[in-house]
Symmetry: C2
Subunit: 276 residues, 2 copies
């Protein structure tokens, strides 16, 4: 999906919501556990109940990998289901936080972006910047695909290294990541992760990268506020994808889980429509 299509999708749905499909077998409603592939059945029901309210879906690959081959099968079916049942209706993000030497990142890019190779056809992948330019660039060689680079994350440990201030430039590490990576891609194939728990930083971040989209996790279970994120993060093209995972997909643990997920998604979508 290219930038124009993404912006138009957001305008049409009046939503910059991203639903995190972090599907955990221990939290899936019991009646689904009798199915052959409970994770896929759960995802399918969530997708069917929320597709008109959300701009994006973001499975975190850890929740699939922990089931090995079976989990990768559930993940593949989920992405194929979205792409085949609702073509062009949702931006899909592999929350994988990959990154390796160039030769190896190329294989990861094929894993996420080349359905002939892997069966997966995501629009975007999250990438960790620690290994620098040649670990990120191979992901940018795919047409209509996106890198979402970790900048300032929403967890406590983000202070350990991301806030280190460079003696040479006086920028913090996450700012160095933003600045250096500007030359690796464009606002049409790169986004950045900025945690909602760091909303007060969004204003400064917008001065460095006014045009790029930001993927903002941490609203809901992790304590971030949608209102603050929108106030400091929105730009003329929206420029935000705000993720909620647990708050939506585990809104109920009963047979009404999809219906309750829809209600939670709608609350966020309505807040988003109001600020757009």
């Amino acid at each position: 999906m290219n930038r124009t299509e993404l912006i138009s999708l957001i305008r049409r749905k009046q939503s910059f919501l991203c639903i995190g499909l972090d599907t955990d077998l221990t939290k899936v409603p019991p009646h689904l556990l009798e199915e052959e592939d409970p994770i896929f059945e759960f995802n399918k029901a969530i997708i069917d109940a929320t597709i008109d309210l959300t701009a994006a879906y973001k499975p975190n690959l850890a929740f699939y990998e922990c089931h090995g081959v079976k989990g990768w099968n559930s993940l593949t079916k989920t992405i194929q289901y979205i792409n085949e049942t609702y073509p062009g209706e949702a931006f899909t993000i592999a929350d994988a936080k990959r990154g390796d030497i160039g030769n190896t990142s190329r294989q990861y890019a094929k894993a996420m972006f080349d359905p002939k190779s892997s069966g997966l056809d995501f629009d975007a992948v999250t990438v960790a910047p620690y290994m620098g330019e040649d670990s990120v660039k191979p992901f940018l060689e795919f047409d209509r695909k996106w890198v979402i680079l970790l900048a300032l994350t929403s967890n406590k440990g983000s202070d350990d290294f991301q806030m280190i201030c460079s003696k040479e430039t006086n920028f913090r590490l996450y700012e160095e990541v933003l600045i250096k990576s500007l030359s690796w891609g464009t606002e049409s194939n790169m986004m950045y992760v900025v945690g909602a728990t760091k909303a007060e930083k969004l204003e400064e971040i917008r001065q460095l990268i006014p045009d790029h989209f930001l993927l903002v996790p941490g609203v809901g279970a992790q304590g971030g506020s949608l209102e603050e994120v929108a106030r400091y993060g929105l730009n003329k093209d929206c420029g935000l994808l705000v993720n909620s995972s647990r708050g939506i997909i585990y809104a109920s643990s009963g047979e009404d889980f999809a219906e309750k997920a829809r209600e939670e998604a709608m609350k966020l979508q309505e807040e988003m429509a109001a600020v757009l």
Copy 2:
């Protein structure tokens, strides 16, 4: 595998070699492509030909993920083959460079370390430090398992961020990673990645972490020298695992690939025996 067992394995085999199973279908000898699972058959032949010469095997997960479900199946069979055919004879490393918020890193840890959950039972996993302490600690909660944290990598892009010097401490980012993470684990459940292309830094690194094992990639195809790595990196317990991937597994592209891989592995093992 615990530290005592690893050290004893290295002493017995007179080898601190790690063979990188970065198995690429485009480089596998043509006669194997007729097999149902060419990647597994290739790995099996390499393992059988080198098991007495190597301390460790390190599949890079990108080379498996790029084939989706099928690739994860080849990976699972490879690790099961090592563990069942040669129990206690090789330390196994998932070169995965994972790392996410705590709740999610826990799922990645299950993926790599809990065979009941994922079918995989690696001894160690490589982890990227960008997200800090809570992204690393869940991997350290498994008995007899190891985190191998990226410190100073062997690629060109390692200069982009890893060499940034902190205004506050005057340490570079990779040194901050070494120092801060010392309190997260011990020399019995943490190692560090230090690229062989940065061998001149090993002497300084050994002052910060005299006792930890280092996983050193970049010998061979990437240009690093085993002699230099050994001179600056060895400690009283060996303290090194030196990886070679392409130089060994693609020593020949013909039917003699396993035999030639053995010859290349033996050259390195003999050099290692001489310095031990």
